[in-house]
Symmetry: C2
Subunit: 87 residues, 2 copies
Protein backbone atom coordinates (compact mmCIF):
# COMPACT_ATOMS: atom_id res chain seq x y z
CA UNK A 1 0.00 0.00 0.00
CA UNK A 2 1.34 3.40 -0.99
CA UNK A 3 0.72 6.82 0.40
CA UNK A 4 0.95 10.25 -1.20
CA UNK A 5 1.46 13.39 0.86
CA UNK A 6 -0.20 16.58 -0.39
CA UNK A 7 0.47 19.88 1.35
CA UNK A 8 -1.38 23.14 0.99
CA UNK A 9 -0.51 26.53 2.47
CA UNK A 10 -2.32 29.88 2.46
CA UNK A 11 -0.85 32.19 -0.18
CA UNK A 12 1.65 34.70 1.29
CA UNK A 13 -0.69 37.68 0.73
CA UNK A 14 -3.61 35.97 2.48
CA UNK A 15 -4.23 36.68 6.16
CA UNK A 16 -3.77 33.59 8.33
CA UNK A 17 -5.54 34.10 11.67
CA UNK A 18 -4.65 30.60 12.92
CA UNK A 19 -0.96 31.25 12.26
CA UNK A 20 -1.26 34.63 13.99
CA UNK A 21 -2.80 32.99 17.04
CA UNK A 22 0.06 30.48 17.22
CA UNK A 23 2.76 33.14 16.83
CA UNK A 24 1.14 35.08 19.67
CA UNK A 25 1.04 32.05 21.95
CA UNK A 26 4.61 30.81 21.37
CA UNK A 27 6.44 33.52 23.40
CA UNK A 28 4.06 32.98 26.33
CA UNK A 29 5.34 29.39 26.42
CA UNK A 30 8.97 30.50 26.30
CA UNK A 31 9.54 30.06 22.57
CA UNK A 32 10.96 33.44 21.56
CA UNK A 33 12.93 32.31 18.50
CA UNK A 34 9.97 32.10 16.12
CA UNK A 35 9.07 35.33 14.34
CA UNK A 36 6.24 34.12 12.14
CA UNK A 37 3.89 31.17 11.75
CA UNK A 38 1.66 30.08 8.88
CA UNK A 39 -0.81 27.23 9.18
CA UNK A 40 -1.83 25.04 6.27
CA UNK A 41 -2.97 21.49 5.64
CA UNK A 42 -1.37 18.11 5.14
CA UNK A 43 -3.29 15.32 3.41
CA UNK A 44 -2.28 11.67 3.21
CA UNK A 45 -3.88 9.86 0.27
CA UNK A 46 -3.71 6.05 0.28
CA UNK A 47 -3.52 3.91 -2.84
CA UNK A 48 -3.75 0.12 -3.02
CA UNK A 49 -0.62 -0.34 -5.13
CA UNK A 50 2.63 1.53 -5.46
CA UNK A 51 2.95 5.27 -5.82
CA UNK A 52 3.59 5.43 -9.57
CA UNK A 53 4.23 8.63 -11.56
CA UNK A 54 0.59 8.38 -12.74
CA UNK A 55 -0.62 8.34 -9.12
CA UNK A 56 1.46 11.46 -8.39
CA UNK A 57 -0.05 13.22 -11.42
CA UNK A 58 -3.57 12.31 -10.22
CA UNK A 59 -2.71 13.51 -6.71
CA UNK A 60 -1.46 16.83 -8.10
CA UNK A 61 -4.74 17.24 -10.04
CA UNK A 62 -6.81 16.31 -6.97
CA UNK A 63 -4.75 18.77 -4.92
CA UNK A 64 -5.55 21.59 -7.32
CA UNK A 65 -9.24 20.68 -7.83
CA UNK A 66 -10.39 19.54 -4.40
CA UNK A 67 -7.76 19.74 -1.68
CA UNK A 68 -6.90 23.41 -2.16
CA UNK A 69 -8.75 26.60 -2.98
CA UNK A 70 -6.53 28.11 -5.68
CA UNK A 71 -7.78 31.64 -4.94
CA UNK A 72 -6.27 31.66 -1.47
CA UNK A 73 -4.00 28.59 -1.25
CA UNK A 74 -0.94 27.10 -2.93
CA UNK A 75 -0.18 23.39 -3.29
CA UNK A 76 3.35 23.36 -1.89
CA UNK A 77 4.15 19.65 -2.05
CA UNK A 78 2.97 16.41 -3.65
CA UNK A 79 5.27 13.50 -2.79
CA UNK A 80 5.47 9.79 -2.11
CA UNK A 81 5.31 9.39 1.67
CA UNK A 82 7.93 6.62 1.48
CA UNK A 83 10.44 9.04 -0.03
CA UNK A 84 9.61 11.58 2.66
CA UNK A 85 10.48 9.12 5.44
CA UNK A 86 13.95 8.60 4.00
CA UNK A 87 14.67 12.34 3.68
Amino acid sequence: MGRVVVEVMPKPEILDPQGKAVVGALPRLGFTQFTGVRQGKRFELEVDGDVTPEVLVAAQQAAEMLLSNPIIEDVVRVADAAVESVA
Copy 2:
Protein backbone atom coordinates in the same frame (compact mmCIF):
# COMPACT_ATOMS: atom_id res chain seq x y z
CA MET B 1 15.81 33.75 7.37
CA GLY B 2 15.11 30.09 8.11
CA ARG B 3 11.92 28.15 8.20
CA VAL B 4 10.94 24.99 10.08
CA VAL B 5 8.12 22.75 8.89
CA VAL B 6 6.06 21.00 11.57
CA GLU B 7 3.43 18.45 10.56
CA VAL B 8 0.69 16.97 12.68
CA MET B 9 -1.75 14.17 11.78
CA PRO B 10 -4.72 12.67 13.61
CA LYS B 11 -3.73 9.41 15.32
CA PRO B 12 -4.73 6.32 13.28
CA GLU B 13 -7.45 5.31 15.77
CA ILE B 14 -9.06 8.76 15.76
CA LEU B 15 -11.99 9.43 13.42
CA ASP B 16 -11.17 12.03 10.77
CA PRO B 17 -14.41 13.45 9.34
CA GLN B 18 -12.57 15.89 7.04
CA GLY B 19 -10.56 13.05 5.52
CA LYS B 20 -13.76 11.00 5.14
CA ALA B 21 -15.41 13.89 3.30
CA VAL B 22 -12.47 14.14 0.91
CA VAL B 23 -12.34 10.41 0.22
CA GLY B 24 -16.06 10.52 -0.58
CA ALA B 25 -15.64 13.43 -2.99
CA LEU B 26 -12.62 12.12 -4.92
CA PRO B 27 -14.45 9.41 -6.96
CA ARG B 28 -17.14 11.91 -7.96
CA LEU B 29 -14.35 13.93 -9.60
CA GLY B 30 -12.95 10.88 -11.38
CA PHE B 31 -10.19 10.03 -8.92
CA THR B 32 -10.84 6.36 -8.19
CA GLN B 33 -7.30 5.34 -7.24
CA PHE B 34 -7.37 6.75 -3.70
CA THR B 35 -8.74 4.39 -1.06
CA GLY B 36 -8.27 6.50 2.04
CA VAL B 37 -7.57 10.10 3.04
CA ARG B 38 -6.45 11.60 6.34
CA GLN B 39 -6.25 15.35 6.91
CA GLY B 40 -3.80 16.98 9.27
CA LYS B 41 -1.93 20.26 9.63
CA ARG B 42 1.26 21.76 8.30
CA PHE B 43 2.88 24.68 10.14
CA GLU B 44 5.73 26.84 8.86
CA LEU B 45 7.69 28.52 11.69
CA GLU B 46 10.03 31.35 10.73
CA VAL B 47 13.25 32.19 12.54
CA ASP B 48 15.50 35.19 11.96
CA GLY B 49 18.72 33.21 11.64
CA ASP B 50 19.56 29.76 10.41
CA VAL B 51 17.71 26.60 11.35
CA THR B 52 20.18 25.25 13.92
CA PRO B 53 19.79 21.94 15.80
CA GLU B 54 18.65 24.04 18.81
CA VAL B 55 15.89 25.60 16.71
CA LEU B 56 14.73 22.14 15.63
CA VAL B 57 14.64 20.99 19.26
CA ALA B 58 12.55 24.06 20.20
CA ALA B 59 10.24 23.43 17.25
CA GLN B 60 9.77 19.81 18.35
CA GLN B 61 8.87 21.00 21.86
CA ALA B 62 6.49 23.66 20.51
CA ALA B 63 4.94 21.01 18.25
CA GLU B 64 4.23 18.76 21.23
CA MET B 65 3.06 21.55 23.57
CA LEU B 66 1.10 23.90 21.34
CA LEU B 67 0.82 22.78 17.71
CA SER B 68 -0.63 19.35 18.42
CA ASN B 69 -3.06 17.81 20.86
CA PRO B 70 -1.16 14.70 22.00
CA ILE B 71 -4.39 12.90 22.97
CA ILE B 72 -5.61 12.78 19.38
CA GLU B 73 -2.68 13.83 17.17
CA ASP B 74 0.89 12.77 16.34
CA VAL B 75 3.72 15.09 15.34
CA VAL B 76 4.84 13.32 12.17
CA ARG B 77 7.58 15.67 10.97
CA VAL B 78 9.82 18.50 12.19
CA ALA B 79 12.29 19.56 9.50
CA ASP B 80 14.23 22.45 8.02
CA ALA B 81 12.14 23.72 5.08
CA ALA B 82 15.34 24.23 3.07
CA VAL B 83 16.16 20.52 3.32
CA GLU B 84 12.60 19.68 2.28
CA SER B 85 12.93 21.68 -0.96
CA VAL B 86 16.01 19.71 -1.96
CA ALA B 87 14.36 16.33 -1.28
